[in-house]
Amino acid sequence: MVIDDLMEIAAKEKAARKPWVVRCCMAAGCMSSNSRGVKEALDRAVKEAGMESEVEVRGVGCMKLCCQGPLVQIDNEKPGATVEVTSVDHSPLYEKVTPEDAASLIGTLKGGKTSVESADPNQPFFTGQMSIVLANSGIVDPERIESYISLDGYDGLHHVLREMTPKEVLDTMIKSGLRGRGGAGYPTGLKWATVAKTPSAQKYVICNADEGDPGAFMDRSVLESDPHSVLEGMAIGAYAVGANQGFIYVRAEYPLAISRLHTAIKQAKQLGLLGSGIFESPFNFNIDLRIGAGAFVCGEETALMASVEGKRGTPRPRPPFPAESGLYNSPTLINNVETFANVAPIIRKGAEWFASIGTEKSKGTKVFALAGKITNTGLIEVPMGTPLRRIVEEMGGGAPDGGTIKAVQTGGPSGGCIPAHALDTPVDYESLSKLGSIMGSGGMIVMDEGTRMVDVARFFMEFCMDESCGKCIPCRAGTVQMHHMLTKILAGKATIRDLEQLEELCDMVRNTSLCGLGQTAPNPVMSTLRFFRQEYLDLLQEDTLGPGATNPPQKTVPAAN
């Protein structure tokens, strides 16, 4: 494979393009509401209309407005167009399409009318977005590498291997200001440079696709919609740090992502974009999949590596950090899916372009999975620094049925609840941590007035309790006790002394736990205590009056999930 071959594939792909492209979402969200049936019906409808030579029905990845799926959109290519994405006319985004709607949708190509409801592509949900990671999502066919190549895919890898030294790649990454999208926000370039500088004959690259936060589905969408962008990012990273073997650790609960990754890796190997002597350079790189068995803690990097090695997935103390001694005691570069998906665009468009997006300390965009009590559930990608209010009220459309937003939970079980009065906070690493939450991997759960914050805290504590690996005492036994105390508070059986004890335990578990899971497990409790303390106090018994003279125990409602 040389650059000419790559260009030939792209040219062939573009030449074979038909004037109409009917894109049908084939990501897990829409597939769960029968988008496969819709696609088959669309194929049949095209055949029946005799338009096979003019219309391509393409299964694509996530089209973002997940709550309205299955989604279908039709592109009409302008005559003489050369670039696919910008020079086509889009139809409205058809919502909740059923197989019965297929004929009328295809009929619109001949000027017919359809009764299928559609979303306005000019509403804030779409116009407020800025796509880097999701640029190809909903456009490329994730099961055909040619589709990715026709959109400059693997161009970045070629550029890196043939025109850049590893040092130049590292400098580009540092200059771009990209920070880890897994949640902690460690500067990616710095991490890469550490791995590159650690001498070793064997190094590894790992992609952490063990997305486990309740309500988060960004990484799944990226893998299902554009798997090659992750492979390309990993290969570029491997070249920069000097690794020749990569692993993608993906959770078994994502069967579609796993199957698309299998397909993508196979296709990339067939074309020589993975393997030995890639682009006729001395660079060798292979990627293997490792399937997680459903443990949240395996998203923690040291536990993840233990799991890849076939051991029990429990974390170990750091240092040594994976960059020095990771998988099989070799220096290991481990990044999140979204981080790797940012790499190829940075190489293609330059570090300056990337650094011009976002805030001073948080560059680029961030993908969020909007979920909970919000009108538009789905995926959004916004520049760093976008105020939360714009995300949940303008783009998300606020709470459904005229409800009021009470709080926004970010960062999953490690994060916190941001109260409605702080919604003007810009979304970046520092601002969110100032509020006692974290950026996290991108789950954003919106809660309305019907949500009781103590319930929310207990929900996340139950999650942490169930997912604790059991290695260290504060997390294993502490989460059990914290969960017990929260249950007691909710049952109206606790006093102010229990609350004090809960706070003391939160502090202890945070400061003494071995890994991030335990250290952040108290966060949902601490942040709800900080902003919604009165809700806790209202549930307490009067200590002085003794049992009996208290608020009656209130009925609990399940936490938002």
């Binding site: 443990a295 803690v297 029990r312 170990r316 103390p317 309790m465 169930d466 997912e467 604790s468 690996c469 059991g470 290695k471 260290c472 005492i473 504060p474 294993r476 036994a477 502490g478 989460t479 059990v480 006790q481 017990h484 004890q501 003391e504 335990l505 202890m508 400061n511 003494t512 736990s513 071995l514």
Partner: protein, 238 residues
Amino acid sequence: MAARTFTIDGKLVTAEENATVLDAATEAGIDIPTLCHLEGVYDVGACRLCLVEVTGIGKLLPACTTRVAEGMEIKTDSERLRKYRRMTIELLFAERNHVCAVCVANSHCELQALACRLGMDHVRYDYTFPRWSVDNTHTLFGMDHNRCILCTRCVRVCWHIEGAGTKNVSGRGSHSHIISDLNQSWGSSETCTRCGKCVMGCPTGALFAKGVTVSEMERDRTKLEFIVTAREKKQWIA
């Protein structure tokens, strides 16, 4: 091997460059409480009792897995550390059924000794009273899961000293427990060499040697009669 000079609790100490803080402290006669540490096997940093404060580092560091560095200022004792350590022990007591009075390891127990040393006069958390079983199927040894603190010393000596690989951890969180082979009864284990290292390594009464236990608990029938009749005969008041 180069030496490193640093201070522990204000005391100037030197140690080899690869030494851990715990090694250095022990050598200097400073006793840091531990439970999962066992001389001779590698450390896992799991019990969190040996956490120390190091000047300039925001997080508490486990002494057993932290290497010494030149100029380090280490504090092994403070109000905060004492509080955390006491809470850790309290959590352990609330987690399983640690009843010293009926335990084979009573007064030979590291958990009990640490509780005394750290001044744990009572447990402020609600006991969870889990239902754990006792595995008495082995001919020589027994395992009482009620007394297990999951320090994994037995697992480490079994794998890395004896090389048998019988003991392991199964389940997660509070459901974690020590298993033999593929979660079968210890007595049916084909890999166990009956070396007894796990029993020797256990800090509590979770693992015990059957013979020794039985001889310790030899019944004195005359005592039984005394207990039954002493009240009537008012023999309690000497």
